[in-house]
């Protein structure tokens, strides 16, 4: 059932994201083709056009990320807590499946937004010199990875996982806030927004306690030991963020299964 639900969730949201992704790549290609011209011979109008194209490109990237957050909130509120909820909640599926489906598809769009942005930067900047094996950037990275061996790979892996968990945490914070807001009669949007801020503050307080705790330990001077300490700290951040994800998920689940009140 989850697979079927995700199929329809992707169909419902792709109309928002795919055009933005397409435009980001098209504008990156446009900027790249403009930069092939010799700048000294550019007319004022051409420079102006180039400026506009770059501005639109930046706005599109910002739009992709803003839309990820807006679509996450909108799909959850309209499809589950609005009129469409009358269909969603009468489908023969468990409440977990509703949350899992929306969460995974939102995470997919968040990751795709990052990938498309990186891809567009790649389109903008890559040339034969960059791909060249002797590029000092690759050489430096290769040297660092061989120097720190497993620790460098571990930290890279941890950072990627932390970014994913943080995205998930933000998505689940939106779901928990919308569900709490839905309990509050007339001022649902305001209550949802207030809950989102409140949950954000709660997270900040917990993080600041942990940072204070970590600060008590003296920083090792040895490079290898410093990297180990960094890996442990990122691990702690991962665990705390994952704990928030679990808390937000079960708050949403509990409210949808025990306190659901569709108008």
């Amino acid at each position: 059932m989850l697979g079927k639900m995700m199929k329809y969730e992707i169909k419902a949201t792709q109309r928002t994201f795919l055009p933005i992704y397409g435009l980001i790549i098209i504008f990156a290609l446009l900027i790249r083709s403009f930069t092939q011209f010799n700048f000294q011979h550019m007319s004022g109008a051409f420079s102006f056009l180039m400026g506009i194209v770059i501005l639109i490109y930046v706005i599109l990237i910002a739009a992709a990320f803003i839309m990820t957050i807006v679509a996450t909130a909108k799909r959850f509120t309209t499809n589950l807590l609005g009129d469409e909820g009358y269909l969603s909640f009468t489908l023969p599926v468990k409440i977990h499946s509703h949350i899992d489906c929306k969460m995974l598809v939102s995470l997919m769009w968040a990751v795709l937004s990052v990938i498309v942005t990186l891809l567009s930067v790649f389109v903008l900047s890559v040339n034969t010199d960059f791909i060249n094996k002797n590029n000092p950037l690759f050489a430096g990275l290769k040297a660092d990875y061989s120097r720190y061996d497993n620790m460098a790979y571990l930290i890279s892996f941890e950072i990627i996982v932390l970014v994913l968990i943080s995205m998930l945490c933000c998505i689940l914070q939106i779901y928990a806030s919308a569900t709490v807001g839905n309990l509050c009669g007339k001022h649902r949007r305001l209550a949802s927004f207030g809950t989102f801020i409140g949950l954000g503050i709660a997270q900040m307080i917990v993080y600041s306690f942990i940072i204070n705790y970590i600060k008590n330990f003296s920083l090792p001077m040895d490079e290898q030991a410093m990297l180990s300490a960094m890996a442990v700290n990122i691990g702690i951040a991962m665990a705390v963020t994952a704990a928030f994800c679990v808390a937000f998920y079960f708050l949403t689940y509990w409210l949808l299964s025990r306190k659901l009140n569709l108008e």
């Binding site: 468990k94 009669g185 569709l262």
Partner: protein, 232 residues
């Protein structure tokens, strides 16, 4: 007689009002039952509780012996009083959607009813009128082989000319051992198809009786009797 719906001390309170006041109710299998009451009497609240769209303040409601959940939703076909269709879909998309999620959904039956009501399956739902959307919803609901059909105001939004056709659609498309619960104000239009009625007012069940008994005992039609009971 086996019951398909069983309410025990079912209570639902909203801020400042009691929508259902500790009601006890049993709806037998295989009947067409009218849930009748004035505006704000608690009809839709009761129906939403049966579908798990609201949670009871106290008491419980059971569908075929189970509390509302994924298992009861497999056997209940529900038509809400509002439009729940996704705007981005076409009629064909929503038929595929129902086919994907409900094992008892018949696409052939749905397309047949669409054709008879002259609704083009390729049209986007966004472009349909309110009445046509209601007809599409009714087609979706009646194309299932459910054990319990719950129809909340199924003919409220359609023109009088289409009402008879819709009632015929309802009658000819539900399986005979299934139960049909219809909530409406338009009693005279539906009373010819009802086996029993439930009168509800201000969150209380006022009366449960068979239509024949009302006619025999009161010597009135259900519509006339309703007007007498709920006279303002």
């Amino acid at each position: 007689m086996d019951s398909i719906v069983e309410c025990r001390n079912l209570t639902k309170c909203f801020p400042g009002c009691v929508a259902l006041n500790s009601i006890n109710l049993s709806i037998p299998k295989g009947q067409i039952v009218g849930l009748l009451g004035p505006n704000g009497s608690g009809k839709s609240t009761l129906i939403k509780l049966m579908n798990g769209l609201l949670t009871p303040t106290a008491g419980e409601v059971c569908i075929n012996g189970m509390k509302p959940g994924a298992e009861t939703k497999k056997i209940v076909s529900y038509l809400p009083e509002r439009t729940y269709l996704n705007d981005w879909m076409s009629v064909q998309n929503i038929i595929d959607f129902f086919g994907d999620f409900y094992a008892d959904f018949s696409k052939a039956k749905a397309y047949d009813m669409l054709q008879r009501l002259h609704i083009n399956p390729n049209r986007r739902i966004k472009t349909l009128s309110k009445g046509t959307k209601e007809k599409v919803q009714l087609i979706l609901v009646m194309s299932r082989e459910a054990q319990l059909y719950i129809l909340d105001e199924p003919i409220g939004g359609v023109d009088p000319a289409a009402r008879d056709y819709i009632l015929d659609t309802i009658i000819s498309n539900y399986s005979k051992d299934a139960t049909l619960l219809i909530s409406t104000h338009l009693i005279s239009d539906i009373e010819k198809i009802l086996d029993g009625v439930i009168f509800i007012n201000m969150g209380n069940i006022v009366l449960t009786a068979s239509v024949d008994k009302i006619r025999e005992k009161e010597n009135k039609s259900v519509d006339e009797f309703f007007r007498e009971v709920f006279r303002c």
